[in-house]
Symmetry: C2
Subunit: 309 residues, 2 copies
């Protein structure tokens, strides 16, 4: 018996077949840009069958957006093409695949589960996982279990206010962590600064495309001042948000992953730890902030682990 | 068999004898200003014996400051006269009283336990208790249990940053909740504003004494602009800090008590709920912020409840 895990992203569907703690097979496909949710269901089903799913295997999906885990419904997923209304992804996949149930959870929740069970948090019962990519998301493990909270929003650290009345977030709120430490918010700010005479190689490197994590890494390596300043702000914002969590929960471990953190590496994560400590009033906190270990695989692995439980 | 609970404050020692959920007796004494920790031990022991403690009764103390609960040590208690070094209050009391153990925990932790078991949180398994008095403290109940955290700092919401680089907090940090919503920080700010030509009745009412909660209530009732502005700031700061906790834990209930909140009543607490909701990105949160129910008794009752477990 194995567990199949799928990471459903805005551009890519990535899947693993997990046997115990071993990734026995991998598969992927492009996320279809046509056909809306039903097109996505077919594409996922194809990846699942290529992974050799048997009738006794459990199946889990990590999806972006707001998820009703109980009913397997993706309530809102702004990053999925043509995905406007809430959609019962779990039941639709279960029907297509001829299985009883497909578990669907938030992509950062499953990522946190993966880091907790097989990654940087494997020696602890409690951790916060933060994933810094296009946006910023988090998943909280307490007492060895993923905490979803009363309305499925536990760990949604990306929308904590770090600068009162600060920059506008993708959600419409003001001054949220995601506006300062998510790639989309940082890119918007970099383009604004570039247009306002603070020339930056970020714009030259990205051209009309997205500012990927490696564009940021290259600009930092080139000593670009706008990139340096915006990464400094991201570090400070992450530190402040983490300090707030520590003062609430007194956790010992925060794991930082996601595309941007993975690309910028341990130096970035170490600076986030320093920033968090500088905001903790009792300097003696046992807090450690460490880099995630599973990279791109965390979502699919975590979805498999969560489904296998 | 009963449980004795003591609330050790900067000016007053208040004790209860709890039989089941009933306060069967109360006692109090002034906190001695001479004699340091040993004077306090004697004063507490006197209150305990007046409450008719028997050899099988359990005894708990809620004390201000940073507590090592495991060893019964008050590590730092800036509000207790002559109390400079860490002091093993639990063992000292146990010896004086001739009992095996006296439990000592933080005054806001025991307050949260009391509100959870017998007050505004009695119908829930999870809540945050926030106590707004001279300072701002918090205690967190998860899964029916008080959470202390890795280093005893869980729930220390008073030192969450609400205004980056903002006002200096009693702990030396900048922009902490306590600097905006604690009476000491609010008084400091009111006197500054008064000195800088923003005349306020707060200073007239308080004269050379402390600005008590009823001074604040009177100034609000008189339409004093400085009082109105500072209470508005306190409400906003509490709302922001609570929103951060909700985004981390997705709790449904926050109970707000302490001298200032008790005195300003449900209107104040209702405004804090609105402020918190306005900072939550998904408006659909089931969060309720309600007034504490046990008033001054919460500390002693909670200490008794915690000792009885």
């Amino acid at each position: 018996m194995a567990a199949i895990g799928i990471d459903l992203g805005g551009t890519k569907i990535y899947g693993v077949r997990l046997e115990g703690d071993t990734v026995a097979a991998e598969g992927k496909a492009k996320t279809p840009t046509q056909g809306g949710p039903l097109g996505v269901v077919d594409a996922i089903a194809k990846v699942v069958s290529e992974l050799g799913a048997g009738p006794k295997d459990t199946i889990g999906v990590g999806a972006p957006g707001v998820i009703d885990v109980e009913r397997g419904v993706v309530r809102a997923a702004p990053n999925l093409p043509g995905w406007i209304e809430p959609f019962a992804l779990g039941p639709a996949l279960a029907e297509t695949l001829g299985v009883d149930r497909v578990l669907v959870d938030n992509d950062v929740n499953v990522g946190a589960v993966a880091e907790h069970r097989m990654g940087a948090g494997r020696d602890t019962d409690e951790m916060l996982g933060i994933f810094v990519g296009t946006g910023v998301g988090g998943g909280l493990i307490l007492d060895g279990q993923l905490r979803r909270g009363a309305s499925g929003l536990a760990g949604e650290i990306g929308h904590v206010v770090v600068v009162p009345n600060g920059r506008t977030c993708s959600c419409g709120g003001r001054g949220h962590l995601e506006a300062y430490a998510g790639r989309a918010g940082m890119e918007r700010r970099a383009r604004e600064l570039d247009a306002a005479t603070h020339d930056t190689v970020l714009v030259e490197l990205a051209k009309a495309k997205r500012m990927t994590s490696s564009v940021w890494a290259k600009a930092l390596a080139a000593g670009d001042q706008v990139a340096i300043d915006l990464i400094d702000e991201a570090v400070g914002a992450l530190g402040r948000a983490i300090a707030g969590v520590i003062l609430t929960l007194d956790l010992q471990l925060v794991v930082v992953g996601g595309g941007l953190a993975d690309r910028l590496g341990p130096t970035f994560v170490g600076r986030v730890e320093q920033a968090a400590r500088s905001e903790l009033f009792a300097g003696a906190s046992p807090l450690r902030v460490v880099a995630a270990e599973l990279g791109d695989r965390a979502g699919a692995v975590g979805a498999a682990l969560l489904a296998a439980k």
